[in-house]
């Protein structure tokens, strides 16, 4: 029965390995799991010798006032994607069940 589910199995193994890696890495000290964007910005500050705060936006921009609001917006972004995927897959599935020429 696993003949047709090889890819699912492989993806699960990949996910599992990923989680295990995360647990191992997070068990070690000294990892903050900061975003690589921020780490990159710090590197820029280090290379230029200017503090991170001295980099001000060239074009003024809206910034989410807190991490909470930011996570809401990220969740909305993913939800939007998820809704579309579910909608389309469901639409195709329905089409397949009921052929147009019947």
């Amino acid at each position: 029965m696993f003949e047709n589910r090889k890819l699912e199995l492989l993806t699960l193994i990949g996910l599992f390995a990923f989680v295990v890696l995360f647990i191992i890495v997070s068990g070690q000290s000294g990892h903050e799991f900061a975003g690589s964007d921020d780490v990159g910005s710090e590197k820029i500050a280090e290379l230029t010798g200017k503090p991170v705060d001295s980099f001000t936006p060239v074009i003024p921009q809206y910034e989410p006032p807190s991490g909470e609001i930011e996570s809401t917006l990220f969740a909305l972004q993913a939800t939007f994607g998820g809704v579309i995927v579910g909608l389309v897959i469901g639409y195709w599935y329905g089409q397949k069940k009921r052929p147009v020429n019947s």
Partner: protein
């Protein structure tokens, strides 16, 4: 891979914007003609775009002890080619720049060149290379997605290195520094992304093999071989 607003000198912002704009224009033209030709492609376009939305919202932890997000552009570039992918990538990056302060309007050009243009282009090259070989199409999808992901971060490192050459060692030294931050973090994520997108692609060809065939992504023979049961409609979803 976002370069934050203000973190790129305006000269470089201009350079990357100038590179990105032609892709955007050609992409919009291609998109319009594609949708005028056949509305049937709209759902597939939605799925490809939706995966860029979902995957680029997920900040995943990596072995280096920092977090980063996959890009999800591999699916779109295979089905709709690089120009249309540039348009979808632009929309996602614009959303994140305007509402999330991830990236910014001035650095949007640079972020487009890495995530919406460069990564997908290299992924597309991989697809072209593997397309007419006996390689299983899931393996092809895996490679395209993973390569598009990792190359995005390599280009980001390069963009930052060009703008901020190290005092000692110049562009090469600072490229290495950024590469360690961005690209090494990204290796496990890109493998995971490749697996997930290959799985998604499996479901797409189970449901709509004709669409993939009509777009010329893969031949009927390749799709049937991947599904394992030629001519027998698969009931597994």
């Amino acid at each position: 891979m976002h370069i934050m607003e203000g973190f790129l000198p305006w000269q470089w912002c201009l350079v990357w914007w100038l590179i990105a704009i032609p892709f955007l224009i050609v992409g919009v033209i291609e998109l319009r003609s594609l949708l005028r030709k056949d509305r049937e492609y709209l759902p597939l376009l939605g799925v490809c775009g939706a995966f860029i939305f979902i995957l680029s919202a997920l900040k995943l932890p990596s072995v280096t002890g920092s977090c980063s997000h996959p890009t999800g552009t591999g699916l779109s570039v295979m089905c709709f080619k690089p120009f249309i992918t540039a348009v979808i990538g632009f929309i996602v990056l614009l959303f994140q720049a305007l509402l999330l302060a991830h990236g910014g309007l001035s650095t949007l050009g640079a972020n487009m060149v890495s995530m919406a243009i460069g990564g997908p282009l290299v992924g597309y090259a991989v697809y072209k290379l593997l397309k007419n070989t006996p390689v299983n199409i899931y393996v092809t999808v895996f490679c395209v997605a993973a390569v598009a992901d990792i190359v995005t971060y390599i280009i980001t490192s390069f963009e930052l290195a060009l703008a901020y050459p190290a005092a000692v060692g110049g562009v090469a030294a600072s490229f290495t520094a950024f590469f360690v931050i961005f690209a090494i973090t990204q290796i496990p994520l890109s493998i995971l992304e490749g697996l997930v997108l290959a799985l998604v692609f499996k479901y797409i060809i189970q449901l709509k093999p004709d669409l993939i065939e009509k777009l010329g992504v893969f031949s009927k023979k390749q799709i049937d071989a991947a599904l394992g049961t030629p001519d027998a409609p698969s009931e597994k979803v």
